[in-house]
């Protein structure tokens, strides 16, 4: 197998000022979500009787170190809201979020801060998720700066991170517009890895990329997981992509998880009608298996 960017650098040293949590051993539970609900909209008042939008309506899952959970569903099913809630970027309406056994559901921003290094996120649109006026070095260094890592250690760490995601550290002085979408997504991944997180929330990380580049990023993510023991919450609308990266899969529909299980089970013998409909709707890249046109 030819990998586009064999991360041949040695496993990254942990940045100094290690967080409050030691790394989980492979197979240890790092994230647990219990009965999570996120509703939007103000309560009914004199002039409003609108029901709140139940974006996420009671979902539960767990995530182990070194494991990928694929969260798949169509637009509006609540998968991205789930990502934001896990990141504590929206406040859950009810339910609990536990990171390594500690309930972070009601943590204040201040209490979340030291924890953030452990849970990082990669967004869909690589161009929109970086500051166009900063160099790539500065973009990747920003989380280190925020968490008080300075001087030569910071510079060395940035170069190491760029190598880790298959970029040439020489290019760190360039600005985002000089990069392609695929390269910039590598920058986004380097930034997310800067503080050596244990959980990476990947919100449609390859949806904006062309298929040959998409395959490179999927391969990179898998290599990084193997080397760093990361836990991925991989959110996507694309069932084929989720199949290639996940160990377990959860199918979301209207704010709920309608089916969950290990990958082989969900894809080979789906039990929920919605999962079946979703799988049946994906066009198969084989002209011999074209669907018949309904009469």
């Amino acid at each position: 197998m030819t990998s586009p960017a064999p991360p041949s650098a040695p496993a990254p040293a942990r940045p100094s000022g290690a967080g409050p949590y030691a790394r989980a051993a492979p197979g240890d539970e790092v994230l647990r979500v219990e009965d999570l609900a996120v509703h939007f909209g103000s309560p009914a008042g004199q002039w409003r009787r609108a029901e709140p939008v139940r974006a996420v309506d009671g979902i539960s899952f767990t995530l182990d170190a070194g494991e990928t959970l694929g969260l798949v569903g169509e637009s509006g099913c609540g998968k991205s809201t789930t990502a934001l809630a896990v990141m504590r970027l929206v406040t859950p309406t009810s339910g609990r979020i536990l990171f390594r056994g500690q309930d972070i559901t009601t943590h204040s921003r201040k209490r979340m801060r030291p924890l953030r290094r452990n849970i990082q996120i990669v967004f869909q649109d690589p161009h929109a998720s970086v500051n166009p006026r900063l160099t790539v070095n500065r973009i990747v260094a920003e989380p280190l700066e925020v968490h008080g890592i300075v001087g030569t250690e910071r510079r060395a760490r940035v170069a190491q991170l760029l190598r880790l995601v298959g970029l040439d550290p020489e290019h760190g002085a360039r600005h985002p517009h000089q990069f392609s979408g695929g390269q910039l997504q590598r920058v986004g991944i380097a930034r997310a890895l800067a503080l050596d997180p244990q959980v990476l929330v990947l919100d449609e990380p390859v949806s904006a990329l062309d298929v040959s580049i998409q395959a490179q990023i999927i391969t990179l993510l898998r290599q990084l997981q193997d080397r760093l023991g990361l836990a991925y919450l991989f959110i996507s609308h694309d069932l084929s992509v989720v199949r290639h990266i996940s160990h377990r899969v959860a199918v979301m529909f209207r704010g709920r998880i309608v089916e969950t299980g290990d990958r082989a089970t969900v894809y080979r013998s789906p039990t929920h009608a919605y999962t079946r409909a979703l799988l049946a709707a994906v066009p198969v890249p084989d002209p011999d298996r074209r669907r018949a046109l309904p009469a």
Binding site: T2, P4, D210, V211, S212, S240, A281
Partner: protein, 380 residues
């Protein structure tokens, strides 16, 4: 042409409904020959389309596939005379539609052709529809723009009929609704209704389902197939999604860096690809079928269209090159490879086939059921 009823029924009466695909041997509806298009930018001249040629026969669906920036959309926009000039510039070639040269047509002639003989469906339905006019009004406009004698009432009746063809429930009561009241899938159905309103002979669909969810995509693709079959129109389907290609196309044109690198029947392209780029694309494709979940990405990235690599544009990423100078020195042309109509722009396309037996290209079929040669060909 007097009443709307006649207009509605007349074409159906004269149309030999679902046209046999063997009509391919007939004169092509559109014939693109050696088309080259450049864009002048502050950074230099972008060679967006370079000597592209392909034909589309009556009733045939030709899929144009390739990654962003490979020139597939620019080619289609040039056919329609919609290329923004400047910065765009047609440097050479011709586009023949039913025998006449579209590149030489006046703006007035083009206006008469667009929306009638040739129509287009764009990627994002919500932004292609005008938000301040009702859906019904927009379709009526398309009908009346090309038939001044059509009365409002007749146009309205035809609009209702069109919307029901594309599967909008209770169309008569929804004519007055606005695009924001419809979902993305419904808006795309309205766009298809609009595109087939004047019974085009050529339908160009540019990523028609890319903005839609997968279950909606399946429905809209079905609507598109029905619409294409009922109008008997030739179709150019521009997409990056190989699943959609396999589902829809009769023939495939694979583009890379502004050039056509391979073309052939859908069966030949999927089961016996003869260009390393096509092989690489298939190996990069995450799929639902099959047991192997390792992807085999193409290394590197598409070249800049301002300073393209010499010789074959794909050579810096090609795994078949093996340091051979010919790939760097000489630009390959499309040559017959294998069965009639299957052409590849690779100096060493014979090796693609030999490797397909067991090597790199064999990966393409991983998990797919074994595909003996000859099964795939939809048409003799």
């Amino acid at each position: 042409m007097g009443t709307g009823a006649e207009i509605v029924s007349e074409p159906q009466a004269s149309e030999p409904s679902p046209r046999p695909v063997s009509a391919r041997r007939a004169e092509p509806v559109v014939s693109i020959r050696d088309l080259s298009v450049c864009f002048d930018t502050p950074d230099g001249v972008v060679h967006a389309v370079d000597s592209v040629s392909y034909d589309v026969g009556p009733g045939e669906i030709v899929a144009v596939v390739g990654e962003s920036g490979c020139g597939k959309t620019v080619t289609a926009l040039t056919v329609l005379g919609l290329l923004p000039q400047p910065p765009g510039r047609v440097v050479g070639g011709e586009v023949r539609f039913e025998g006449r040269d579209l590149l030489a047509a006046s703006r007035r002639e083009l206006r008469a052709i667009r929306g009638a003989a040739i129509s287009m469906i764009f990627q994002d339905p919500q932004s292609s529809l005008n938000p301040v006019f009702s859906i019904g009004r927009q379709i009526v406009d398309v009908l009346r723009a090309h038939d001044r004698r059509l009365s409002k009432a007749d146009a309205r009746a035809r609009t209702v009929e069109l919307l029901s063809t594309v599967g909008i429930p209770e169309p008569a009561s929804r004519l007055g609704e606005y695009p924001h009241q419809w979902s993305g899938g419904m808006c795309q159905r309205a766009m298809i209704a609009m595109a087939i309103a004047n019974r085009p002979r050529l339908l160009i669909a540019d990523e028609p389902t890319t903005a839609l969810d997968v279950t909606t995509q399946a429905q809209v693709l079905d609507v598109l197939r029905v619409a294409q079959r009922e109008t008997g129109a030739a179709a150019i389907l521009i997409t990056h999604d190989l699943g959609v290609v396999a589902e829809m196309a009769d023939r495939v044109v694979v583009m890379y860096a502004g050039r056509v690198v391979e073309t052939g029947s859908v069966g030949a392209i999927f089961h016996e690809p003869r260009h390393p780029y096509t092989v690489g694309l298939m190996a990069s494709l995450p799929r639902l079928d099959g047991d192997d979940d390792n992807l085999d990405p193409i290394p590197g990235r598409p070249p800049s269209l301002i300073s393209r690599p010499s010789g074959c544009c794909f050579h810096p990423r090609c795994q078949l090159r093996r340091q051979r100078d010919r790939c760097v020195e000489q630009a390959p042309v499309l040559l017959e490879a294998g069965r009639a109509g299957h052409r590849s722009a690779c100096h060493f396309h014979d090796e693609v086939r030999s490797e397909a037996a067991g090597g790199a290209a064999g990966e393409v079929r991983k998990g797919g059921r074994p595909s003996p040669a000859g099964v795939a060909e939809p048409v003799p």
